[in-house]
């Protein structure tokens, strides 16, 4: 079931100032997380990841994911503490056609003489707000015992 991305998340993915990390898993179960500046949100609300390197580890892991229905995770964070994690699955990879060709030209205009291997379409399945204040508030509401006593002391150390 696809999850919907809110306006804040879409804006973060659209910003060059945000940090985006794509995490995949290799054949032995080792996670592989790498900063990936070229992740976008398309008109259908899916993430588009532009893979620039044909034989990269991320690319191989994504191929394995689409073949064997494995999940990936994308984190995006902004300068003001905004931080989101999107779990999802690759549903399609484009190696030709108008969307691919558009991004091929776009990425070359931005970076110069680079290549584009594929445009991966990742369908979001779960969206988690990783902003630390939001997470603390959730944690204290759900698990009020999970805190150190000094935080409750009359006299703060």
């Amino acid at each position: 079931m696809a999850a919907k991305l809110n306006k804040e998340i879409i804006a973060l993915f659209g910003s060059d100032d945000s940090t985006k990390v794509l995490a995949t898993v290799n054949e032995h179960g080792y996670p592989h997380a790498a900063a990936k500046p070229f992740i976008r949100v398309d008109d259908d609300g899916n993430l588009l990841y532009l893979e620039l390197v044909e034989s990269s580890r991320t690319q191989k892991n994504l191929v394995r994911s689409i073949w064997f229905d494995q999940k990936v995770s994308v984190s995006v964070s902004g300068r003001d503490g905004q931080s989101w994690q999107i779990k999802g699955k690759p549903i399609k990879t484009l190696i030709t056609g108008p969307v691919f060709l558009h991004h091929y030209q776009d990425v070359r205009e931005r970076l110069g003489d680079v290549d584009l291997s594929a445009v991966w379409v990742i369908e979001p399945e779960e969206v988690i707000n990783e902003n630390i204040q939001v997470r603390h508030t959730e944690e204290e509401a759900l698990h009020p015992l999970f805190r150190h006593l000094d935080r409750l002391a009359k006299i703060q150390p």
Partner: protein, 417 residues
């Protein structure tokens, strides 16, 4: 025939059964194999959404399973970016349907949804003509990321009635010439102009493949064929700023002198010479022309010697997978066929030659026209076996992978190498 469908869960099919037996084999690659093995039939309904952006069938070296040249989509792409090279097939032969499901083109089998597919996008140069007035689509045909140059579609083995028994190259050439006016031999100028036009579309192509029938003429066997390829490759090379450009030549088994000429005088980067079937007795029976003029052992040796010139991972041989089971002289069991084929492929891999296969399709213009290709299970295990050899011997297949070719299921598996 049109079948309006909604997305439904599929019942146990042969595809599902094979995947249950081979759980580590990717389902999408198995779907590709099965669509190639059984062919496809486009419903009237799906053809209604085909517009001018879709690449329609263009001249090709080999014919289709229905023996006709019709204005239908060239072929299909799966959602993992892999190519299905398949052709229109009569309904009586139980092909997959390409139909509309939820308004999108999809493979359908026995009324059940299998996979969504995309049509191949038409390259811009397909709407243009060379300065000599020939449609560029008749000069160079496109795959999703590759350009195919079939500069001569006559094979001299056929003149002695020694053509390969699975092949319909000459039958199809005559049909294309008669029905479409496709030239049976291309001129370098037309090829160069078409390449120049294709390169104007950024991101559209990653490789060029040349092939044609065998030409036995010349001072030495195949000299004329080599001359022709050099002339063509040099014409192509005019369009590149580098001496070498990603390219594959699928040709006869040339001697070292001929291979050196090709490598040194052109931008060619990789070389394939198809044994078609592995095992000397099967080769002699199925490929009598190749057997007569070169011979099985010498063909293998020439492949090995080509590695010294083109480098490891840049030399390969293609098989018409499954033809080793043709009747009456082929293997009688799939188990024996698989064992023998993989043993022979290993002897090549040990020497740096990679082996890949296409799915054998008994075509109406070939000697084997009335035969039946093997089971899906066989093709799945053949793909896995050839891939395993590539892993074992650390043999790359960059020049002939899912993108630069797209016609080898075992090569698709190498996306994980």
């Amino acid at each position: 025939m049109a079948v309006a469908l909604k997305l439904v869960e599929s019942n146990e099919s042969e595809l599902d059964q094979v995947l249950e037996r081979n759980p580590e084999f990717p389902r999408l690659v198995a779907v590709k194999i099965d669509a190639q093995r059984r062919g496809v039939h486009y419903t009237e309904q799906v053809l209604k959404i085909v517009d001018d952006s879709v690449q329609m069938r263009s001249p090709y070296l080999f014919g289709s399973r229905d023996g006709e040249i019709k204005d239908l989509p060239e072929s299909l792409l799966l959602r993992d970016g892999s190519t299905i090279l398949t052709d229109p097939t009569p309904l009586a032969q139980d092909p997959y349907l390409v139909d509309l499901v939820d308004g999108k083109p999809a493979l359908v089998d026995e009324g059940q949804f299998v996979e969504f597919v995309d049509f191949w996008p038409k390259p811009l140069y397909y709407d243009k003509k060379t300065s000599s007035g020939i449609p560029m689509s008749h000069i160079i045909s496109a795959r999703p990321q590759r350009l195919n140059v079939f500069q001569s579609s006559y094979c001299y083995f056929w003149a002695e009635d020694k053509g390969c028994k699975f092949c319909d190259i000459v039958t199809h050439t005559r049909q294309q010439k008669d029905e479409l006016g496709v030239p049976s031999r291309l001129k370098p100028q037309d090829i160069s102009e078409t390449i120049a036009e294709a390169l104007k579309e950024p991101g559209r192509f990653t490789g060029i493949c040349l092939t044609s029938g065998s030409v036995i003429k010349g001072q030495e066997l195949f000299d004329r064929e080599v001359d022709f390829y050099i002339e063509t490759l040099q014409a192509i090379g005019e369009n590149f700023s580098t001496k070498k450009f990603p390219s594959e030549l699928i040709a006869s088994a040339f001697n070292e002198k001929q291979l050196a000429r090709l490598y040194e005088q052109t931008g060619l980067t990789s070389y394939t010479s198809d044994l078609e079937v592995l095992g000397e007795d099967k080769f002699n029976w199925i490929c009598p022309g190749k057997a007569k003029y070169v011979g099985y052992r010498e063909w293998k040796q020439r492949l090995v010697r080509a590695v010294d010139i083109f480098g490891r991972g840049n030399v390969g041989t293609g098989l018409v997978g499954g033809v080793e089971l043709a009747k009456p002289n082929g293997f009688s069991s799939e188990e024996d066929a698989l064992k023998s084929t993989l043993e022979e492929a290993e002897s090549l891999a040990e020497n740096g030659v990679t082996t890949f296969y296409i799915v054998w399709v008994p075509r109406p213009g070939s000697y084997f026209k009335d035969q039946q290709n093997p089971s899906l299970d066989y093709f799945v295990r053949l793909a896995q076996g050839l891939h395993n050899l590539r892993v074992k011997y650390k043999l790359p297949i960059d020049y002939n992978d899912y993108r630069r070719c797209g016609n080898h299921p075992d090569g698709d598996l190498s996306r994980l190498l």
